[in-house]
């Protein structure tokens, strides 16, 4: 406990918003398997739990989107929304 604690979870917080579904779901797997480790400190376990619940909430928000966004990449590199009939 006296050694300097590494806090990757804290650093990650800033980019939580920009995390993709892929990253979130992978992180959740990591968290779940880390929680099964024998040597996970109590403090970390609590942090992981909290982080995991956050990821679930954010992932569910992403999944709640119902309209597919379709864009077209033009030859000049521009991107424009695409209407499909």
């Amino acid at each position: 406990m006296s050694e300097p604690e590494k806090k990757p979870d804290k650093l990650d917080e800033s980019k939580v918003e920009s995390q993709s579904l892929e990253e979130r779901l992978r992180r959740l797997e990591e968290i779940l398997s880390r929680l099964e480790d024998d040597d996970v400190p109590l403090e970390e376990a609590l942090q992981l739990f909290e982080e995991g619940v956050g990821h679930v909430r954010d992932a569910e928000r992403v999944l709640a989107q119902t309209e597919l966004k379709v864009q077209e990449l033009l030859e000049n590199g521009d991107v424009q929304d695409m209407e499909l009939d």
């Binding site: 993709s20 579904l21 999944l63 119902t66 966004k69 379709v70 864009q71």
Partner: protein
């Protein structure tokens, strides 16, 4: 060839030579006339023969001959038509050509102007071209399974290279909307058949890769003839797919159509719809899995606490036993020490007592009490002043006489000073 050049069979009929010409022709006039004659009298036709002396010029025009066991016919296929060939035929190959007979006036050579060229054998030119490119790519290792990039499980952006007006795009979009409406789709429209389609498709793939946005790319089109699908058997497309740093799923035509694109792609999907199924997970499944996660997290935390508790209990009981074991000799030692200490103390005290008794004896000998016991006494005033001389006494005053076992209150009756 009924009707074609009838009367010009084996031995051409020749009039006897007339030495007096009434008209002299120029060579050009003759060749031009013959050309018109040939072109005017022969329809388009199919000819079967064996290819020889095939030569493709940088201009794209191809020159060759077809022959059977007796004759040979010069042929030309101009760039516009030759560019539709999937590959050049090898010399000696049995082919079928379709075109028109004409005359190359400059050389006075008659020839076949070829519009179509097909392989006669079971192995068509398409098949040959396909095999040529396939084996070349194989030699380069581009078909190795080890090169296949895994598809992302949950892509946020899906790239699509296909015709923006085709059914393939509609099919893909419809599957993506149903399964994973949260993804973003980036479409790069191209022509998918005809002259230049292959280079457009390859540029489109490179363009999508260059944005760095898609995490997986679907390249494909709906069903069609082998010619329609041909762009996906061409080298530029194969190169663009194999060089893509983003996984590519190839989806060309129907289940039975296997193209070079399919072989170099990281995954071959039988149809565009199937490709869409492959690239995104089903949202329903994810939502179900996700809803179980908080419970699993809680279980994980509880399990961790439970394990921690049993570890602590185990450690404590071990620790208790350990302490007992460690303390036992200490206890024994302490008992020993205590006994020795007691004994030591006792002997020290005894010694002290002995010495005290000795000292008491000496003190007794020196004490004034001893003198008093021999019969002497000491007189003092009420204020504790020792009365040593007759002059210290005052007649009629009382004084205190200390004797060996107490005190006597006395009174001075008279003073008799000594000599």
């Amino acid at each position: 060839m009924p009707g074609l050049f009838s009367g010009l069979d084996e031995e051409p009929f020749m009039d006897p030579i007339d030495p007096t010409p009434d008209r002299i022709w120029s060579v050009s006039e003759v060749n031009s006339t013959i050309r018109k004659l040939i072109e005017g009298s022969a329809d388009t036709l199919w000819i079967r023969g064996e290819v020889g002396n095939w030569k493709r010029y940088p201009s794209g025009h191809c020159y060759f001959s077809v022959k059977d066991d007796r004759s040979e016919l010069r042929c030309v296929m101009f760039a516009r038509d030759a560019s539709t060939l999937p590959t050049d035929p090898d010399d000696g190959m049995e082919i079928r050509i379709f075109g028109k007979l004409t005359l190359y006036e400059k050389k006075g050579a008659y020839q076949m102007s070829v519009r179509l060229l097909e392989s006669e054998g079971a192995e068509g030119l398409w098949r040959i071209a396909f095999e040529k490119l396939r084996s070349q790519l194989e030699v380069e290792g581009l078909l190795d399974l080890a090169r296949k990039q895994p598809l992302p499980k949950h892509p946020a952006v899906v790239g699509i290279v296909t015709s923006t007006t085709g059914a393939a795009l509609r099919d893909i979009i419809s599957v993506l909307s149903r399964r994973a409406p949260w993804v973003r789709v980036l479409v790069r429209g191209t022509r998918v058949q005809g002259e230049g389609a292959a280079s457009e498709i390859s540029q489109a793939i490179r363009g999508l890769v260059a944005t760095g946005k898609p995490e997986v790319i679907i390249v494909g089109r709906g069903g069609g003839s082998i010619e329609d699908l041909w762009a996906f058997n061409e080298e530029p497309v194969a190169r663009a797919i194999s060089e893509s740093t983003i996984p590519v799923v190839s989806a060309v035509g129907h289940e039975i159509d296997v193209t070079i694109s399919d072989l170099v792609a990281d995954l071959r999907a039988p149809t565009p719809s199937a490709a869409a199924e492959e690239v995104v997970p089903d949202g329903t499944g994810i939502r179900e899995n996700l809803s179980a996660v908080p419970g699993e997290l809680a279980k994980g935390l509880q399990g961790m606490l439970q394990r921690r508790r049993s570890v602590i209990e185990h450690t404590l009981s071990h620790l208790g036993l350990g302490i007992d074991r460690k303390m036992q000799p200490v206890h024994q030692g302490l008992d020993n020490d205590f006994a020795r200490l007691q004994a030591g103390l006792r002997s020290v005290l005894d010694l002290r007592r002995q010495r005290l008794i000795g000292v008491e004896g000496k003190l007794d000998a020196l004490s004034p009490l001893a003198t008093l016991r021999r019969g002497y006494s000491v007189a003092r005033t009420g204020e504790d002043q020792i009365l040593r001389s007759v002059h210290d006494f005052v007649e009629g005053d009382s004084f205190v006489l200390r004797v060996s076992d107490g005190e006597v209150i006395a009174e001075t009756k008279g003073l008799q000073p000594g000599e």
